[in-house]
Symmetry: C2
Subunit: 342 residues, 2 copies
DNA sequence: CTGAAAGCGCTTACAG
DNA sequence: CTGAAAGCGCTTACAG
């Protein structure tokens, strides 16, 4: 297949390659009629600029990197979807990189990628965005970064997030409004900043309502289904049960729900369960899980906007932060506390 | 940060850039001591060749494209994981592209990507791999392709697959061996070739066992949880129930399981349920689902091997096909048929 | 507003 | 086995 280059377009349009370049890149200082004519020729020839030539001659690669801890997770899948869509909007492409922190050369791996690829920008998903070695690396390469839901070092780069703390607080308040006063909480992975924020939100709401949280009502999980199962077993083993359990993500909530079912505990009749994330799994549960909708795909979209939406030449203010709104999704796994139980 | 180029390495090593190039690319005809010396300098300077310069001057982009229908699915996530790992092994990078067939310009989108990116190779996941327009496009761009679990046009390109038909047959035989003779089947999305193969495997086993399949025992699903729910409702609505249900993927099997639970039907006591895929969800179910393990990540890995593992210059034989082995994973959702029920 | 020249950092094709 | 020259297809910096 004959490859169409900028010269072909220029020759056919009767202008210089530079003018074609200007038109393609939406630069100013091209007469309107020439611009239109060039664009017509571009379409006729189905010309697409070669990304490698562009990347070599300019410093822009038209490549956005998405760095995730676990590419296997639903979270990563959500982010990808949002980012891919938006990259396409701007004629960029998305390169996914797994950060394998368990490998001794994990940082060198990222470094190699950055040297090879000269990314136009990078999206650091949680919890990668909280690893300072990673941030330093990107800073040293001078690559614009957007952090997703960072928990440490606020203001170190642009960021996109929801207010995890407020969301967890709102969920807890809702449970309290339903009459629950004995609520267990399943904490998330300690490496994720969101885990701490969600816990704080829970604690805030309890404090406001004058509820003290006994230590035995707080379980440590790691955001996995399995850890939810373990937490459920621990909480529901004997008759000293809470009337509600708030797990800090849906996978764990789902695990808790499974344990409740095995024990024959009616949900929400005898036990309310709430999760966080609005993971696909929350709709596959029965009863479906009450949860917090976190717009992951949207967050990735916004991250791409921050990276390339505005003038890509202009450095953004570090610390620029976009906060997206969450929503409480009340489904069937939560309900009013039963008479005499409170 | 000062960028290290091939010239820097050449100057420091006291050789020409071309020699450095030879060393980097593992070409022959370099004296061993020079090779080692250059490699040492490369390490000292932490030199990484610029992917854009490479891509521009050679026809190789060091980029592998993964084309998926639904980047949101667990299937896509599995593939990504396998492909990313293996790409890194070969110093390549993975670019994920969503094929949005519902858009009128979907083919033009892919075409644009191919013109811009000059991929070294592409992995087409099911069912993208069965869309002939896509195959034609890659052929016209002369880009090596590996199809994953293709159902049509065998031999049109390299392919990696498991024997879906044999796997479904084996699962069905297992159910029959457990005493089941009244088995319902939930078919998958008609656009997926695997759906037809799994159905055939089921039919094969039934025919062998002398079991005829009444039309009312065959439900049409689309691989989604929701369609599993619908199929479950249809099958389990009245007392005329089969003793086992084989759904052609785990999400649907999970849906069927949920319906059984709501109806108070004991699994596997009164009803055996089997799925396919060994999806994460199959381990989150209770009872856990009996299923077929399909090594998705491994398939993507092998696809990368086919694309770049061997000599990348040499064209592969179209039709070269690698078949990976599956395994039947017997968990708790299936069991012997109850006395008097068969 | 438009263009000619030089260069990005590699590899290809050709010598020797 | 090693290297000098040319070129990949764009953009940058400079003129006019």
């Amino acid at each position: 297949m004959k490859v169409v280059t900028i010269k072909d377009v220029a020759a056919r349009a009767g202008v210089s390659p530079k003018t074609v370049s200007r038109v393609i890149n939406g630069e100013q200082h091209v007469r309107a009629e020439i611009r239109e004519h060039v664009m017509r020729v571009v379409d006729e020839l189905a010309y697409k600029p070669n990304a490698f030539a562009r990347g070599l001659s300019s410093s822009r690669s038209f490549l956005i990197g998405l760095f995730v801890d676990d590419p296997f997770s639903g979270y990563a899948a959500d982010l990808q979807r949002g980012a891919i869509d938006q990259c396409r909007m701007y004629s960029h492409h998305l390169v996914i990189e797994a950060v394998e922190r368990e490998r001794p050369d994990w940082l060198a791996q990222i470094d190699a990628t950055l040297r090879e690829l000269r990314l136009s920008g990078a999206i650091l998903a949680a919890p990668v965005c909280d690893w300072s070695e990673v941030l330093e690396l990107f800073e040293s390469h001078d690559i614009p970064v957007v952090r997703l839901s960072p928990a440490t070092d606020p203001g170190r780069a642009q960021q996109v997030q929801i207010d995890d703390r407020a969301a967890a607080r709102e969920m807890t308040e809702r449970l309290i409004a339903l009459g629950h006063r004995d609520i267990a909480f399943v904490r998330g992975h300690t490496a994720h900043g969101a885990a701490a924020l969600r816990w704080q939100g829970f604690a805030d709401a309890c404090a406001d309502a004058g509820i003290t949280i006994p230590a035995r009502r707080v379980l440590q999980g790691d955001f996995s289904f399995k850890s939810g199962l373990a937490a459920g077993e621990a909480i529901l083993a004997d008759d000293d049960r809470p009337t509600a359990i708030f797990a800090s993500n849906d996978k764990m909530a789902f695990g808790v729900l499974m344990v409740a079912m095995r024990h024959g505990i009616a949900v929400p009749g005898a036990l309310s369960i709430a999760g966080f994330d609005d993971d696909e799994i929350s709709r596959m549960a029965w009863p479906q899980l009450t949860t917090i909708n976190q717009p992951n795909a949207e967050m990735a979209k916004v991250a791409v906007d921050l990276l390339i939406g505005n003038n890509p030449q202009v450095k953004k203010e570090p610390g620029e932060s976009v906060e997206l709104s969450y929503s409480l999704v009340e489904r069937e796994s939560s309900g009013p506390v039963m008479n005499g139980m409170a």
